[in-house]
Structure formats: structure tokens, C-alpha cells
């Protein structure tokens, strides 16, 4: 069965495009989206948002709407698009359940600082507060999980509100902004002129870092003997990956990239030591533990990175660069805080450092670099290729088979996500899209669809778990409807694997409610019922073939990898432990050399 693009029903003749003039609130929303350069938005219509959807079909405009199957999918697709492109993602839903279904992606976007504008329908203003059909206090529900929220009570406010919403979403520390529009406001008319500027006296993000602080940071780096760059997702939000690369080249010290920063600095770069924290490498965690200067760049000392906070980087002074002043000294005291945009701070810091750099100071750091290099050589990520198929093996094959392709990876949340972070090599920014802060199972499928829609020519692979996949698999219908050929690799171990791992290690092997069964559903038949390609691999020999077939098909595709359910993610910092205290399986170095 071949996928086709559905033709949108347009019962009426399109109304010619009008950029200004008298129009309905609904059309004003569409004109605002156009003015913001929005290409795609995702959503589902419903009662309270009907005027907007009516205008969508009725007026001529340039914004593409993608009909999803669940509003959560719309939100995560907008996130996938935003994370892949760096632009603002837009999604829509109706009042009540439409809005509450958007809570999870909005909370996810809030914790991972993803720019979103979320438009929801609301019951007419005269019914607000009356417990009307499909009424929920949407702005109230979203208040703690948005950067800002609006309930529009006058149609004339729509252009200003939309302008502000996009401005707030994309500037400073990016985040989701909600615009709740009652039905009567969407039907009311206004004289539309899209403003050129915003007037927000209470919102003025700091732009450039303080020069004295930059100088102090440069001096601290020059004097440090064991410095480490601790790089977070803020580098990607700031589009500062080039400035980071120049800075890292100048200082020549190990670069730790958090889960959110994977790809912000090339994984294959000799200075990159990758993932720290709960399932990070020993060398990254040891480097953070022994460092005397933590050069923090757009990271936020999350508990999954630091482990027990009091024991984290115990001997280190901290430089903390961030756009958000509230992150400074929130979890870890910053000795040298620099608030501002990384695109401005990093070049200034590089310049200040180069003026202080001497041969002695370069030499003093060389020993440290060698030490980290030795740890990396002696204690790599590893696994035993015995028994059933291992997820790590599948990751290695994806990595190697697609090494020459331009691949955007998305993931769900759990064991497969950690293995993806450990084993995949990501060389370019915004090519690894995962739910970091909120840890949203089900993120992978819609995020992959959103990313693929942003870049139809790239290969998009969703590394997913079976538990995660089942949470948002209805979006396969969206993928097939719009012919979105992202590959959904289900690392199917039949369990909620990460929870099972905790139960095994910390709860006396009491596997409470974590068994899913790996044959339920039959993922191949499921994919076929959606009109997608369904493939399966149960042994190492079958892995290459299914990956190659999936990539070659350029069709929406689900691959059922039947993997070992006993396999655990190592190394591991148990929750609440110091990050230097990792548990691991016993390794015999002879065994590694023999390459069994």
C-alpha cells in the first residue's frame, strides 16, 4: 500500500490573501503566523477552535497544517521541528481535552527550553467560568509550565499577543508560550496590522556578558591545571556551536557534552569526552570529579548529571555562563557567573584567553589531558556480545551503516535512550533530539515526524523502546498520511526496561508491573496495518539487512528489534550517589583485548 498526501477539502473558493485590514480574529491568527514565517503547524480541530480551522480552509495563506491523531503528538512534532531547525514550533488544539493533551509536550518544552507557540481554542468569553462543555482553565493549567501565557479577551489584541508570544518563545532562554483564544474572539473582527516591535517592559533578557567577568573567567582558565568544559543544551539554543568549537580549540581541554548537548560539539572530536552523569562514561565523570575548574556553558547542574550535589566536582571552582540569571548558583554556587548570550560571551572569552595563553600554561594542562585520555582508553563503554541480541549492537550498526548519511536521531526515554547517547556518534548540532528534563516516554515517534517534516531529505531515525513506542504509536497514521519516512527502531525487550533495571538493582528483583511482552503487539503487523513498512530482526545477522532496507525504502517504517531484556545500562551512578561512584559489571581487560 502506498502512502498518499490527502487533498484538503476546500468547499469554498479561497479568499485572496490580505496582510492587513479588517478581518476575523481567526484570520488574524493565521496572518500573524504568516508574518512570523511559520511554515508548518500541527494540530487537531474541535468545537472551540472551529473558527480558526474554518479560516484555515477558507482564506488563502502559506501555513501548512498537519492533522495529527492526538494533541500530544502535535506538541512533540512541533518540538521535533523546533529542535531540528532552531525555529519556533507551532501547535494547536481545541479547548478542554485538546488543551490538556498538550500539557505533556509543553512541560517537556519548558524543561528543555524549546521554543513553542501553542494556540488553544477556548469556550466563548460569556461561558468562561461556567463549567461549559469542554471548558478547562487552560491558562491556569499551563501557568507553571510555560514561559508566558495569554488569554485573549479582545480580538484587537491578537496581533500584539501573537507578536509577543513569538518574541518571548524564541528570545532569551527559549520556551513555550500559550495563546488561549475564546471562540467568540476568533469570530470577532479587528483591523489587522502586525506590529514591528514589542513593548515588554518586564522582559529584557541580558545580551552581552559583563566584560570584567569574562576577563576573570579567562584568567581562571589560564591558571587552571585540570579544567573541563561542561557543555549543555544552551549552546544549541544559542546557536553558538561554532563559537564553542573555536573556544574549545583555543583552550584545548576535555569537553563534556550533556544529553541535551549531544552534537553541540562533534562526538568524534579528540577533545570530546561526551556524556556525563547517571549513565555517562567513567572518563567523563572522573574528569568532572577531579577537575579544578568547571567551565559551564549553557548547562544547569541537573541531578542526573551531578549525582549527589555535595560530592559533585568537589575541588572545582565554577565558571557559569548562561542566558538565564536564575540558573546561576541555583544548584551549584558559581564563582564566576557570566549572564548573557553565548554567541557574544564565547568569542570574548576566547579572545581574552588567547591574550593570556603562554607555553607554560598550555603545558600545565597537557598532563591532565593525557590523564583523561588514558581513562578513556582504559574504560570505554562496553558490553558483552553473548546471548540474545543487544541494543548496544544495534546502536553500533546504525552508527556505522549510516556514518556517511546526514541523520537526525530522536529517542524515547529509558534504556534505549541511554544506549543511543552512549553509542551513537553525532557530529552536527540539532541532530540528536531527545527528551532530557521531563523524560517523556513517547517523545520519539512524534519528534521524529516533526524533524523529518523540517528536513524531508535527511534520514531521521527514532531510537525507541517498546514501552515508549506504545505511548504515541497512533502517530504512524500521521506519518503515513503525509508520507513522512522517519524510521522507528523499536528496541523491543518486552519490558519497561529502565524501571526493570532499577527493580533488579535496588528493589530486590521485584519486577512490579514492568512486563509488557515483546510479542504484544506484533509490531510488524501493526506497522502494516497503518500502511507503513514493518521489519523485524531477532539476531545480529539480521540487523544490517533491516536497517538498510528501512533506509532504502524511504517509507514510514517500524523495525522490531527483539533485544535482550536482561541487559542493563552501565556504568550507572545510583540515584543520590556521588557521580564518581559508578557501578558497573566486572570487566576483565584481557577479555576486551581478545575482543570476544
Amino acid at each position: 500500500m502506498s502512502a498518499t498526501n490527502p487533498v484538503p477539502a476546500t468547499p469554498n473558493q479561497p479568499i485572496p490573501a490580505r496582510r492587513t485590514g479588517v478581518m476575523t480574529g481567526a484570520e488574524a491568527v493565521i496572518r500573524s503566523l504568516e508574518a512570523e514565517g511559520v511554515e508548518i503547524c500541527w494540530g487537531i480541530p474541535g468545537g472551540a477552535i472551529l473558527p480558526l480551522y474554518d479560516a484555515w480552509a477558507h482564506v488563502e495563506h502559506t501555513v501548512r497544517h498537519i492533522l495529527v491523531r492526538h494533541e500530544q503528538g502535535a506538541g512533540h512534532m512541533a518540538q521535533g521541528y523546533a529542535r531540528a531547525t532552531g525555529k519556533v514550533g507551532v501547535c494547536m488544539g481545541t479547548s478542554g481535552p485538546g488543551a490538556t493533551n498538550l500539557v505533556t509536550p509543553v512541560a517537556d518544552a519548558f524543561l528543555d527550553s524549546t521554543p513553542l507557540v501553542v494556540i488553544t481554542g477556548q469556550v466563548p468569553t460569556h461561558l468562561i467560568g461556567s463549567d461549559a462543555f469542554q471548558e478547562a482553565d487552560t491558562t491556569g493549567i499551563f501557568m507553571p509550565i510555560t514561559k508566558h501565557s495569554y488569554l485573549v479577551t479582545d480580538a484587537a489584541d491578537i496581533p500584539r499577543v501573537m507578536k509577543e508570544a513569538f518574541h518571548i518563545a524564541r528570545t532569551g532562554r527559549p520556551g513555550p508560550v500559550l495563546v488561549d483564544i475564546p471562540k467568540d474572539i476568533a469570530n470577532a473582527s479587528l483591523d489587522f496590522v502586525y506590529p514591528d516591535t514589542v513593548d515588554l517592559p518586564g522582559y529584557k533578557p541580558t545580551r552581552s556578558g559583563h566584560p570584567l567577568q569574562v576577563q576573570a573567567a579567562a584568567e581562571a582558565i589560564a591558571k587552571a591545571r585540570r579544567p573541563v568544559l561542561y557543555v549543555g543544551g544552551g549552546v544549541l539554543n544559542a546557536h553558538a556551536e561554532e563559537q564553542l568549537a573555536e573556544f574549545a580549540e583555543a583552550v584545548q581541554i576535555p569537553v563534556v557534552t550533556t544529553l541535551m548537548a549531544k552534537g553541540a560539539f562533534p562526538d568524534s572530536h579528540p577533545l570530546c569526552i561526551g556524556l556525563p552523569g547517571m549513565h555517562g562514561s567513567k572518563f567523563a565523570n572522573w574528569a568532572m570529579n577531579r577537575t579544578d575548574l568547571l567551565v559551564t556553558i549553557g548547562a544547569r547542574f541537573d541531578d542526573r548529571v551531578t549525582g549527589k550535589l555535595e560530592a559533585f566536582a568537589p575541588g572545582a571552582r565554577v565558571i557559569h555562563m548562561d542566558i538565564d540569571p536564575a540558573e546561576i548558583s541555583k544548584n551549584r554556587h558559581a564563582d564566576i557567573p557570566i549572564v548573557g548570550e553565548l554567541q557574544q560571551i564565547l568569542p570574548a572569552l576566547t579572545k581574552a584567553y588567547l591574550e593570556l595563553r603562554t607555553q607554560d600554561r598550555i603545558a600545565s594542562k597537557r598532563e591532565w589531558k593525557d590523564q583523561v585520555e588514558e581513562w578513556r582508553f582504559k574504560h570505554p563503554f562496553r558490553y558483552r556480545r553473548v546471548g540474545p541480541l543487544k541494543t548496544q549492537f544495534v546502536m553500533e550498526r546504525f552508527r556505522d551503516l549510516l556514518a556517511d548519511r546526514d541523520v537526525i536521531w530522536t529517542t524515547g526515554v529509558g534504556q534505549h535512550q541511554m544506549w543511543a547517547a552512549q553509542w551513537l556518534k553525532v557530529e552536527k548540532p540539532r541532530h540528536f533530539i531527545t527528551s532530557g528534563g521531563l523524560g517523556t516516554m513517547g517523545f520519539g515517534v512524534p519528534a521524529a515526524i516533526g524533524a523529518q517534516m523540517a528536513y524531508p531529505d535527511k534520514v531521521v531515525v527514532n531510537i525507541d523502546g517498546d514501552g515508549c513506542f506504545q505511548m504515541t504509536m497512533q502517530e504512524l497514521a500521521t506519518a503515513v498520511s503525509y508520507d513522512v519516512p522517519a524510521i522507528h527502531a523499536v528496541l523491543n525487550n518486552g519490558w519497561l526496561g529502565m524501571v526493570r533495571q532499577w527493580q533488579q538493582l535496588f528493589h530486590g528483583e521485584r519486577y512490579s508491573e514492568t512486563l509488557l511482552r515483546n510479542d504484544l503487539p506484533d509490531y510488524v503487523k501493526l506497522a502494516e496495518s497503518f500502511g507503513a513498512l514493518g521489519l523485524r530482526a531477532e539476531t545480529e545477522e539480521e540487523v544490517d539487512r533491516v536497517i538498510q532496507e528501512a533506509v532504502a525504502s524511504r517509507r514510514p517504517c517500524v523495525i522490531d528489534f527483539r533485544v535482550d531484556h536482561e541487559e542493563k545500562v552501565y556504568p550507572m551512578v545510583p540515584a543520590g550517589s556521588a557521580s564518581s561512584e559508578m557501578i558497573d559489571e566486572p570487566w576483565d581487560n584481557d577479555w576486551v583485548e581478545e575482543g570476544v
Binding site: T139, G140, M143, P144, K147, H148, S149, L151, T153, I168, L200, P201, G202, Y203, D324, P325, A326, I328, S329, K330
Partner: protein
Amino acid sequence: MQHTLSVLVENSPGVLARVAGLFSRRGFNIESLAVGPTEQEDRSRITLRVDASQHSIDQVIKQLYKLINVLKVNEMTADDAIERELMIVRVAAQPNERADLIRLAEVFSARVTDVGPTSLMFECVEHPDKLHAFEEILKPYGIKELVRTGRVAMRKSVPERTRGARMRVLA
């Protein structure tokens, strides 16, 4: 430790909910809260009394600044600000007790605002500590009803040169 925060906000819908919600979400207790208009029509001032460590109060102030409708946050201390609160209290008072109570009230600059057959009502605008003292004095007579507005505060006028040292303003 107790802190008084004076938060200047835009008069926009839901602004009080945003500020109050931030405190509950970040796990801070609000001891008292007062909201009212200011000299500018489109601005309101929220005065909050919060129990938090200095590290936490710094974090609260930074989080408050992240709210789009928050324009300025000042932390006030007893030294640099005038703090006042209004209390209205109804006290049981038999006719033979009235004179005693009215004399006590004078000490606290409280005014009699209502006289009933067996009760007296006082209003008192004072520093919250003094209101507390007045309340303690009235307790033996039997407090029937009591209401307080929550404290409001305003910075004393001090020379520009020393203001910076006396007042902590995080921008």
C-alpha cells in the same frame, strides 16, 4: 529568616496567580501578601512576607524576574523601610470593661470603630510587630474576630550615595 519583598507588576490578568503560583511551585511559604494599586494606573504592587534562607530568597527574586509581568523586585529590611499593616479586631467587652480597653487602645494608637452591647471594635495601623503586641494585650478580654491586611512597605528616603549599600536590588 523573614524577608519582605516588594514586587512591582503590570496590571494584567492573572498576575497575582503567577506570582503566588511561583512561590508554591518552588516550595516557599508566603506569610503575608498584600496587593494594591500604585501611583501609576497600569501598575500594582505586591508586598510579600516570605520565610526563606538568603540563598533561597535570591533564587525567588531571580525567578520573579522571569515572570514577564514583573517589573521590579525590591527586598526591604526593617532598617531601610517603613512597614505597616491594618488590623481590625472585635473584642468582648462588657460595659464596665469599655473604659479600660479604650485606654489600652490609645497606647497602641488604635481607634474605636464600632461599639456593641457586649463588644468593641478597634482598627489599628501599625508595624506588624506592634499589632501582634496589641493582640496579645487584648487576648485576656476575649477576641471574637480579627482580620489583618498583610503588611505593606515603602523604602525610606535615604541619600542616593548610601542607598545602594542599604538596599538589595537584583536586576
